[in-house]
Symmetry: C2
Subunit: 404 residues, 2 copies
């Protein structure tokens, strides 16, 4: 192992994945998000798309959808028809030169085409192969068709979201897709680390359903202690008060206190320090027993303020509270823009829009220079000719017969 | 790099993180979940707790809460008072021997105690230091107090969850905690991989808020194309039909069709293939224009069936559909138990309960042998005496003066 000299703190360092090549065969969010995180850590991520483009691209009947532009920054892009024998040959050639392959086809799809992990490891035993599925590569439910809302229903998210006396709701964001995409990236990195020590790659497997289970820890605990009925509590919490969404002048805010210290700070901010001595609010247990009064006292304060006021006061006073922000506010968030997590771009088709970089930062390394999501097949020549060594006439032939 | 011989496929391999030592200073879910994923990948994870135990442990006024048992399997456990100078000295000694440190204190807490990354890298330049926070280590909102529901409100989750004409809801699971915990693990692994090549560790930083943004891709796209009002759609989807939660005989089911092929399969399963030719349902656009009729047609079918029937039929027929399952059903899920993701244990205090392993699997390596979450300070002697080399009388003294 070559130990580089210790650079001075603050001095720029190369991105951590410089020199790593990943083939991203992902569709929609799960595997493409893993690819995005790799690209923002400095890897050369090559998106390998069907000849007509992956579904995320075409939903808006154009080559670039809002989501595909969000998810595919800093990747190169090639087309490849895996239903053609020649296409599968080309994939094998790519695999020989790559470190990582990411895919989220249904279980068995790659195997049935003869390009599953068992086959590809013959081409490259150092390959780390990341498989993202809904239910996993084994077990009785393996072949269930998994889309984010289906997994949210099946895995327990819908049952614990919404009011206790109302219908179940799915969580608005695609949490099963992104939780599993993040686990997929983490698993791939763990196997890449291991490869440095053993010289061997791995199949790494992540099931969307299984990434949900740990996130239910609080709800499962409530069920254990208080029974099933305690698992859906709207915006309240069965054992903490105050803890709710409250009305503000211009919408809602979240306010909660998990310690007495926070409650006392909140009372000070509310200008009601005397309530500290009110027996209804003497401690968390008393506040739970007087939940309506507790919530009313907090809302009497929030309802006189704007959401932004509540957030600023809470930040200064050390109270856990924030605005329920609409998506346009989130998209324009000065904090995330200042930190470089979000950036405005002018997209040739979509116009002015915001793209995310990565929620993972490596101190002393800036994100790689931004490159907008590529057009379909934009790097076919670079990859197939410059990298794999095909000549121009072969490229033309591949295009003509629909292989790329 | 030592290249081990290629084992036969299916032959057992060591867990990928065997030999890696991580100090888990985490509280509640974010950093402790990163530690859990490391432990299940074979790392030696040492949970470093305050002398009274971390908050997750004490919520139930006992040494073991349901959540702390879920999150801390396969970790060793020591106590350490970082407010004592001697405690901070001991942390520095631990850091000299460790590969990874995980923490999710508020920004600046570790620095103010003189044991932030800048100080610890002096002890061990190979250390990978993972920092999990709510808003990040920089920026105007850095010091906001972040708990999962606060981040859900601030980051846009609540705004897109719930009915279009109803109040905002937080998602029931602690998605900000766990999304960020997973990113934290991924970032740490990326830096560990890099360290094999450079010999140098890193500070890796993850903000809860920023891990939410990408999960809103579909909602942000809806806003881009249709405006802000399109971002909260209950259980429907603005551009896909059918897509909803429907009543079944014993609860609700999720059903959606993203392709015409799936719609045709659904009609066959419903015993209504003739509706394929009904102009109201001729294609996705027509179904959106006749949304009430579309939903009514699907619900006429689901309402005659149990949730389990719908899931089994859908699995066989290739329709994306599943039951809205209650948490007790999820906890008992035969599929996840068969796959080894979930297991029953008999806990001495909590009784019969289910614990998760890890959603990340490494083919040919079983999960490490299960060890139940340790008691507070259970491994003080092992770590402080056997590993750091203190003698018994020193250990007694540390206990006596409240340092451990």
């Amino acid at each position: 192992m070559a130990a580089a000299p210790d650079p001075a703190p603050g001095r720029a360092r190369a991105a951590p994945l410089l020199g790593i090549v990943a083939l991203d065969l992902g569709r929609y969010y799960q595997a493409p998000y893993a690819g995005l995180l790799m690209a923002n850590a400095g890897a050369d991520v090559i998106k390998v798309e069907a000849v007509g483009g992956e579904p995320m691209r075409s939903r808006r009947n154009s080559g670039n959808s809002y989501a595909s532009v969000m998810l595919n920054s800093n990747k190169r892009d090639i087309t490849l028809n895996l239903k053609h024998a020649r296409g599968r040959d080309l994939l094998r050639e790519l695999v020989k030169r790559a470190d990582v392959l990411l895919e989220n086809f249904a279980p068995g799809v790659m195997d049935r085409m003869g390009i599953g992990y068992a086959a590809l490891r013959e081409q490259n035993p150092r390959l780390v192969y990341g498989s993202g599925t809904g239910f996993g590569l084994s077990g009785p439910d393996r072949d269930g068709l998994a889309l984010d809302p289906v997994i949210q229903a099946h895995a327990g998210v819908a049952a614990v979201t919404g009011a206790a006396d109302g219908p179940p709701f799915k969580a608005g964001p695609a949490i099963a897709d992104f939780l599993s995409g993040t686990h997929l990236y983490a698993g791939v990195m763990t196997a890449l680390f291991e490869r440095e020590r053993t010289g061997l790659g791995r199949l790494v497997e992540v099931a969307m359903q299984e990434t949900i289970y740990p996130t239910l820890a609080s709800n499962l605990a409530a069920m254990h202690y208080q029974g099933l009925a305690a698992t859906r509590t709207g915006n309240r919490h069965g054992t903490v008060a105050p803890y709710n969404l409250y009305r503000a002048r211009d919408g809602h805010v979240a306010v909660l206190c998990t310690t007495e210290e926070q409650w006392h700070k909140l009372l000070l901010a509310m200008g009601k320090p005397e309530l500290q001595h009110d027996p209804r609010f003497a401690n968390n247990k008393a506040r739970l027993q007087n939940l309506q009064d507790t919530d009313a006292a907090v809302e009497a304060w929030t309802s006189e303020l704007t959401r932004a006021d509540v957030f600023e006061i809470a930040k200064r006073a050390g109270i856990p509270a924030a605005a329920v922000r609409e998506l346009d506010e989130v998209m324009r968030d000065p904090h995330m823009h200042q930190r470089g997590m979000l950036m405005w771009i002018e997209h040739p088709e979509l116009g002015k829009m915001v793209v995310p970089r990565s929620p993972i930062r490596y101190q002393d390394s800036a994100f790689p220079e931004f490159r907008v999501a590529a057009e379909l097949g934009e790097h076919n020549r670079q990859i197939y000719c410059d990298w794999l060594g095909l000549d121009e006439s072969e490229l033309d032939q591949l295009r003509a017969d629909g292989t790329i």
